[in-house]
Symmetry: C2
């Protein structure tokens, strides 16, 4: 077995992602010698104890990070700044601080100004998840074969960057490096806009007259169902994603809306050629995904 | 084995749906004594002969329907009126004419005025499909456990209606009865709007700069992928669906657009409460589907 990457690794927050990291670390043994878990809710702390996925369970985040050479934020991105203000004076010199949030520009914006001298901020985003949340939802295989996007800063220490990459390699992920702005644009279209649409179409259906709504639930298999799968996602996490990737999400929503309006206009005017072209482009993208084995 | 429902049943068009009906009829033996297939393309006719899924293969639809007590239109809904004009003088008195189209108001609009005296028009819509098309794509289990919506007219002969329902029962489907207008509204939200969105978001992604598009295909697993599955659908069929369910699709698109804009506005203004409410409604609809085992 390789030398553990971290001596003492603290997970701040222990939902689906945090508890999956804890499980893979426990299982492999080469990620951290000691796994510390901190979270605010007493029931969650108790549940983590019962699950046996941490070596140390600590209610106070400031005490939890003391003496840790690695800290991973696994909380909603909107909670980062407050958490950082609380723990900053307690971070060990030379520690690597990383995260798992779905937005990266906001992480740099919120955390970079609060970083103590000598602590390395290396933001990351494991692109993995399920519709379940909480410490019971995690499993050690969650990250296997999935991408993890690491978004180092120009000033980031190369050794610290490599440590975060190696962490995700040991979790089974494929590593991509990107700047935070590009990351936020890409996830806006591949993930945030689809989620916004999924939440919206569910609301649109929910607003229909009771009788039609009944029928929607009954006949959901005809396409609607596919759009609801991602609508089961965690409320706090997704609220924070939308609020913290505002510009990129609004930009993609605006492009999509223009395109949807153009489609609607073509239907109204009976423009068969335009409609065929749109359908063909859909099929083309679908074929590209199949060719890349991403379908 | 029960007495065959039809003596001579003609399938006009032999794509995914038509060839699945042919296969289940062949397999069961109690749907029709003789299965006649007609389609315009010579290669398709030849392929149907090779597949052995018809008793009679006939290039001319007018000759194909002669002497048939059952006729099923399995062609894109935009082709119904022309096909009907061609076959109407050749339909046998007392024959039942039904269809499998995804729009029903347009079927009544296009076919009712052309129906010869004594021929029964009973529109129907089996809610089943895959992303594949053509006579090779069909399979006898396609309709099992799926809904079939029958939309009789107020003047429809009850025996003819029952015959169409029994046809779909023997195909394994669950029968629902609805008027054509309600049908068109329901499918607009459960199926046509999701397809419109799927085609659109693929186009939006396709319009992005080459580098971002690359990344979209790479990271599609994060939500985008779910939206592309239904975007692989048949071009002619879907063009005709949008053009023939115009009012209901535009109405649902307009409701959805308003809701998406409201979501965007909440993101712009940082309205956390509104966003949380939308996410919760998505989760609620998702839970309803899970409870109904439609998820």
């Amino acid at each position: 077995m390789a030398e553990p990457l971290f001596n003492r690794l603290c997970l701040v927050g222990i939902g689906l992602i945090g508890s999956s990291i804890a499980r893979v670390a426990k299982k492999r043994g080469d990620i951290a010698k000691t796994i510390v878990v901190t979270t605010r809710r007493a029931e969650t702390l108790q549940r983590v104890r019962e699950l046996g996925i941490a070596d140390v369970v600590e209610a106070d985040a400031a005490r939890a990070v003391e003496g840790c050479d690695g800290v991973i934020f696994c909380i909603p991105v909107g909670a980062y700044a407050d958490a950082m203000r609380h723990i900053a004076p307690h971070l060990a010199p030379g520690a690597v601080l990383t995260d798992v949030g779905s937005t990266k520009g906001s992480v740099v914006r919120d955390l970079a100004p609060l970083m103590p001298e000598g602590v390395h901020l290396i933001p990351a985003h494991p692109m993995a998840g399920t519709e379940h949340s909480g410490p019971d939802a995690g499993f050690p295989e969650l990250f296997e074969g999935r991408y993890c996007i690491v978004t180092p800063l120009p000033v980031s220490d190369p050794a610290a960057v490599e440590k975060v990459k190696e962490l995700w390699r040991r979790c089974g992920s494929m590593i991509e490096t990107m700047d935070p702005i590009t990351h936020d644009k890409v996830v806006a279209i591949v993930s945030h806009l689809p989620h916004l649409i999924a939440f919206t179409i569910c609301g649109t259906a929910d607003d229909l007259a009771e009788e039609t709504k009944e029928a929607v639930l009954k006949f959901a298999a005809s396409g609607f169902r596919d759009f609801t799968r991602i609508a089961a996602s965690d409320v706090d996490m997704w609220r924070d994603v939308f609020l913290n990737n505002r510009e990129a999400v609004l930009e993609m929503l605006s492009r999509f809306s223009e395109d949807a309006h153009a489609f609607g206009r073509a239907i109204r005017r009976g423009e068969a050629g335009f409609i065929e072209d749109r359908i063909k482009r859909g099929r083309k993208i679908r074929r590209s995904l199949i060719e890349r084995k991403q379908a």
